[in-house]
Amino acid sequence: MLASLAPILADLPPLWPTQASAQAGPIDDLYIFLTVVSAVMTILIFVAIIVFAYKYRRRAHPHATQIEGSTKLELAWSISPFLIMLIMFVWGAKLYYAAQNPPKDAMEVFVTGKQWMWKIQYPDGGREIDELHVPVGQPVKLTMASEDVIHSFSIPAFRIRHDVVPGHYDSVWFTPTKPGRYHLFCTEYCGNQHANMIGWVDVMEPKEYANWASGGGAQGTLAEQGEKLFQQFGCSTCHLLDQQGRCPILRGLYNKPVQLNDGRTVTADDAYIRESILDPNAKIVAGFEPNVMPQFKGQVTEENVIQLIAYIKSLSPSTPASQQGVQQRPVVIAPGATGAMPNVKSPATQEKQPR
């Protein structure tokens, strides 16, 4: 009996998304709470309407009883729903707050959205398009940039999503909990092939992941790629490593406070370094002249900027553990690890660079 139902059930569409991250469970709990409250309220209203419509139908109740209203009732049905809504608010805000604060040991991956593909860069230099590989159980923080329009990075199975706005770094984090292959969607309309800006997230067992990752980047780690660019663009002529050049020393700069010539102090985080590369005159370090460094806006891709930041980051050995952790993908030595990185598409991506 049940067995004959099985093929029918298998053909039914899925009604609930897979839970594949540590975030998914708590968000589903809240979603279920909201659904139950909504269902109860809807049933309440529907039942009241049906009962009143039947009981007071004109044939049975030809004369209406006029009622002015009731302040007590009005207060009751204004305040009690609001109290329930306060629970939703606090619950939702707590989870949202947690989603803004990645754990210190999160592995960092860089994502660049570009009409119509997702480019992924790993700290060890590996690169992919429309594929993201992550080990199960490892918190992952994505730092995301856009080359053109607004995109939105979404993994339904993880219940995570964040817009990727050009001109900004956006970030999102998650801890995958279930090995498998999950959809990755762009959920902000971004033009013609928006529907094809999709990809896959592969959640792998740590061993399997180590196998996959052990090849590393074809052109060295992200920081090494950045160092090459640093030479190639001539940055090293003015940003000397150990002595004062025409431009500030970058060693030890990352995540440190920087005194500006207008008296402000800012932190040399990713966003600051990105801005200083693309638009050097936006913030001038105290004691330095403006208009010394050329603008790199339009000269470098977001991926190049990510490589350069990784290099500058690598010049700060005293970077706190939280930042150290992101330098390397967790290395789990597995026997029989092959040297090749299966999904690497790096030579191709280099050619695909626009401008």
């Binding site: 139908r57 006029q66 053109d148 817009d163």
Partner: protein, 543 residues
């Protein structure tokens, strides 16, 4: 139910009314009669509705299979055209420009709106705006969605963005003028004895709508203008490559467009108050609270726009503030739903077509409102933003709510507007089709949304197909449900039974006068001595 006056001596000698007073084109195109302008609007927005609906039918057909039928270009232009036409050229003007335009002067005992010529001007402005939008469609369409997000719209799209944005910009002025006219009319033109506390709730809700139209729409105009500047001259407002900020566009856009959803729904709420009261033969429960809640919605609607940007990178503290404010705006909507339900309590209820639409409205608006809580809640908004969950939510509010109310209102006041009754059987049948078709179309989209299916995808992973097929099946039933009224309404103009002055036995000044009314509505200014919905003396006070 309908008291049909037929074959009486008055009916033999056809009385003069606003429709038969003159028949020339000129008498219509240069009319300043609010009732004729309402009819002009009714015809125009119905044409736009058919256009927007046709686009919806086309893209629902595309979504029958994961691979789709149309190219990405075509699909993107179809959903953009659907959104732009339905929002700016149908929903925003729908009830205010037609039913409220027709009824507000009559309901408050006035001969016309305060500014009859401005009223006509607003229609011409609307038509010019609509022509720009149609021009954009005919030339090849626009592919930005109705939200026109920059920098896609300002820099990257190579479709007819300027024409469409200009159409929206122009149509905004017609909306401002309508709102302005209502505000002044309600303040200055009320008949003796028509105090604020005696105003029909339909007038209250349109008054609140007028405030939002006047205060909010200029911001939309500014946004569209800046978008045009950016697109033509690359001045660097929204495009980060030249120093602009794309988030600024969203702030400006939603500062209008969130209040705008209340421009769309508030007049519908007014219609429901009138219908529920009439067909329960009972005054509206908690009149003051229902009236006040319209004003509360109008005010609060201006401080919730940030809930469209929880995942856009606005500051976490802004998001938290916008979240709690969004819950706050849900309270006055809840008050209305509870009061409508309580109005039925101990009423004497009949089930004429307008009442069926009102039932549909309460049910579907309740679901639409409650699913809005999922989007006001920060963490669940993150999980559902940009998916079909959002599409389902706003269609429950805008179509399940607003369009239901509009249809209910048309069926309620059709005998007053045209003097004719439509087919009761066909109208009840089509109300049922609309309800069933609507739920079948949009309920599966809630499930699709939480499964993760993104909006605005012309093709999709195969596991989403079953729910999409259901949705398309529902859309065809819904389409039929909307097509039938167009047929039987037109049919009733010639063949419908004479309706008489007050076919529903309703309270309200509009039912005291001739159907269709004369050009100046009243022979002499009425003096109002009783409150709205006086369906009998109050016998009992609860609480």
């Amino acid at each position: 139910m309908a008291t049909i006056v037929q074959g009486t001596p008055e009916a033999v000698a056809e009385p003069v009314d606003y429709l038969n007073v003159s028949h020339t084109w000129k008498s219509w195109l240069f009319t300043t009669d609010h009732k004729r302008i309402a009819v002009l609007y009714l015809i125009s927005i119905t044409l736009m509705f058919v256009l927007g609906g046709a686009a919806a039918v086309a893209f629902r057909i595309n979504l029958l299979s994961p691979e789709g039928v149309f190219s990405a270009e075509t699909y993107n232009r179809l959903f953009s055209m659907h959104g732009i036409i339905m929002v700016f050229f149908f929903l925003v003007p729908s009830i205010p420009a037609t039913l409220a335009n027709f009824l507000i002067p009559i309901m408050i005992g006035a001969k016309d709106l305060a500014f009859p010529r401005i009223n006509l001007l607003s229609w011409y402005i609307y038509v010019v705006g609509a022509l720009f939008a149609i021009y954009a469609v005919v030339r090849g369409g626009v592919d930005t969605g109705w939200t026109f997000y920059a920098p896609f719209s300002s820099t990257y799209s190579n479709s007819y963005v300027l024409a469409a944005a200009f159409g929206v910009f122009i149509a905004g002025f017609s909306s401002i003028l309508t709102g302005l006219n209502f505000i002044v009319t309600v303040h200055k033109m009320r008949a003796p004895g028509m105090t604020w506390s005696r105003l029909p709730l339909f007038v209250w809700s349109n008054y609140a709508t007028g405030l939002i139209q006047v205060l909010g729409t200029p911001v939309l105009a500014i946004t569209m203008l800046l978008l045009a500047f950016e697109r033509i001259a690359h001045v660097g407002i929204f495009d980060p490559n030249i120093g602009g900020d794309p988030i600024l566009f969203q702030h400006l856009f939603w500062f209008y467009s969130h209040p705008a959803v209340y421009i769309m729904i508030l007049p519908g709420m007014g219609v429901i108050s009138e219908i529920i009261s009439c067909f329960s033969r009972k005054r509206v429960f908690g009149y003051n609270f229902v009236a006040f809640s319209s004003m509360a919605i109008a005010v609060l609607s201006f401080v919730v726009w940030g809930h469209h940007m929880f995942i856009t990178g606005e500051s976490m503290y802004s998001s938290i503030a916008f979240s709690i404010l969004s819950f706050l705006v849900a309270v006055p909507s809840a008050i209305k739903v509870f009061n409508w339900t309580a109005t039925m309590y101990k009423g004497s209820i009949s089930f004429d077509t307008p009442m069926l639409y009102a039932f549909g409205f309460i049910g579907l608006f309740t679901i639409g409102g409650l699913t809005g809580l999922f989007l006001a809640t920060l963490a669940t908004d993150v999980a559902t933003h940009g998916t079909y969950f959002v599409v389902a939510h706003f269609h429950y509010v805008m179509v399940g709510g607003m369009v239901m109310a509009y249809m209910g209102g048309l069926h309620f006041w059709w005998p007053k507007i045209t003097g004719r009754m439509y087919s009761e059987a066909w109208s009840k049948f089509s109300a049922l089709l609309v309800f069933v078709g609507f739920n079948l179309t949009f309920f599966p989209q809630f499930i699709l949304g939480y499964l993760g299916m993104p909006r605005r995808y012309h093709n999709y992973p195969p596991e989403f197909q079953t729910l999409n097929v259901l949705s398309t099946a529902g859309a065809s039933v819904l389409g039929l449900g909307y097509l039938l009224p167009i047929i039987y309404f037109l049919h009733s103009l010639k063949y419908g039974a004479r309706a008489g002055n007050n076919p529903w036995g309703a309270a309200g000044l509009e039912w005291q006068i001739q159907s269709p009314p004369t050009t100046f509505n009243f022979d002499e200014t009425p003096v109002v001595t009783e409150e709205a919905y006086n369906y009998g003396p109050v016998e009992e006070i609860v609480g």
